[in-house]
Symmetry: C2
Subunit: 327 residues, 2 copies
Amino acid sequence: MTPTTVGILDLLRRSQGYVSGEAMCVQHGISRAAVWKHIGGLRELGYRISSAPRRGYRLDAAPNSPLPTEVLPLLATHRFGRAYHFLRRTDSTNRVAGELAEAGAAEGTTVVADTQTAGRGRLGREWFSPPGVNLYVSIILRPRVQPVRAPQLALVAGLCVVRAVRCLCPGLPLRLKWPNDVYCDRRKLAGVLCDLSADMDEIRHLILGIGVNVNLPPTGFPGGLAGAAVTLQEMAGIEVSRPQLLAGLLAELEQAVELWVDEGLGPLLDEWRHLSILEGREVRVHVLGQELTGTVTGLSREGALRLRTATGKVREVLSGDVTVAEW
Amino acid sequence: MTPTTVGILDLLRRSQGYVSGEAMCVQHGISRAAVWKHIGGLRELGYRISSAPRRGYRLDAAPNSPLPTEVLPLLATHRFGRAYHFLRRTDSTNRVAGELAEAGAAEGTTVVADTQTAGRGRLGREWFSPPGVNLYVSIILRPRVQPVRAPQLALVAGLCVVRAVRCLCPGLPLRLKWPNDVYCDRRKLAGVLCDLSADMDEIRHLILGIGVNVNLPPTGFPGGLAGAAVTLQEMAGIEVSRPQLLAGLLAELEQAVELWVDEGLGPLLDEWRHLSILEGREVRVHVLGQELTGTVTGLSREGALRLRTATGKVREVLSGDVTVAEW
């Protein structure tokens, strides 16, 4: 979107009714034909704009899309989302953000796509990323913490998703599944993926990728996901604003990440444990080809999952894939 | 180096004396002028080749350089060094290896440079990398271990440097300084740098970078390093073969890394502790801007440095920069 397009959108937004084409021409020093082209561009992005002879143009509705023009005005952050890259379609926002980070992009730089052609989840799994309905966002972090603490960020991010969703859709039975998933009604609502680039001493960058199932109709999931995934719209019964959800999420993240860098997981643990779906459950944990079974007794201060095994021994698992034996 | 150049070098090597230019022409189906060009190329790489009318060419000496033609014939490994990239000059072998890894290069892929223009050490420090004398090598690893174990690789690599050096120069007072340096006579002989790319569950790749001061004359170090660094040649009193040292190092690494992946640091700890220069010493450790002082009491099974602080409490440090209070 060019600055002129953004300016024209701004004119339309601040007016109660119609804005004459001439006013736009004068304000931006462009021709009638150019105005028409900018209006066309906005319509293509999903803005509903009426035009009437002698009256001009009127903005009827903005798209429910994480366009910069929709998200940036809602941002309450200092750094997160301030550099904002919106892509209609890309392979993976985490990959794009990783490239930007390598090239030196600042902390808080945010990459959002309307659809991903190769959206990734953990362990090489796919993240279903259809266009027009959900959120796929990656944020570049450069926390001054030891690389060994990096996996904790997934816990922080999951909690932030819950907090941001709670603001827009109060009352949903949101839960966290260690280490990286947000559940609602025992189905997956959102997932977190962290990509780490570090040396022995410091984190060069961490790419925090978050996918949230927002407004996809329940019939929209492919076969394998149908019973396992859920959307906000299905649970809340309303269409949820993607820009609002994203702006809220970025605000929660900026605050929580700062706290985590300074004080570790400590201040977040109580809330996390309270939301944990695994507490007290019998689980199987897969860690790099090995399997461990036991009853979840909680979370350590470092974010490890605590398991009591059949022999009564308590084991701490730093990372792994958890399956619940029985709900 | 083209296959024809390598073939001509091979012919020269397998002959006791002169090889006629005609034999080379016939064997490779090339002209006299082309033979002359290949001989010129080899000379440029440092091969000393005599030529005599009617007798042909004779290989008098191979360069002491980690050229593929010098290293590959010495390799006793299965994977390490089998894909071998030699660069006369690059910014940083770790950077190049990182790019190759991103592009999917296999485990064991090795990048060697004769000189680095931006050789890196830990914590953003420079690694002095003059041409013609030392070793700068980076190896791509893809170990199936949890990312949290990645920093242990520096310990494994340091031990391998000691073992490889010991084979070529027995009797040197080699020591290890936690976490990543090899010392000789209280001066730095070699350093290790690990670059990690991982998600929460697995390591995508680890770039293991190793720099060894081999044959630089003692006067060759810049002012700041003069008293702090040392070379093998200075300590051993002989010029050390860079190809032999590198081939030995790759063999030690392949074996030790395999053991570490399967069994952890355990089988290597005794040897490490025995070589540790910090054992029992009073040290200051800098960890991300914080300082910790204490007496080193050893190494944990996970490779952390154990410190007894002034209050008698034992602390484990996972990463940090260690300064010895007094030798």
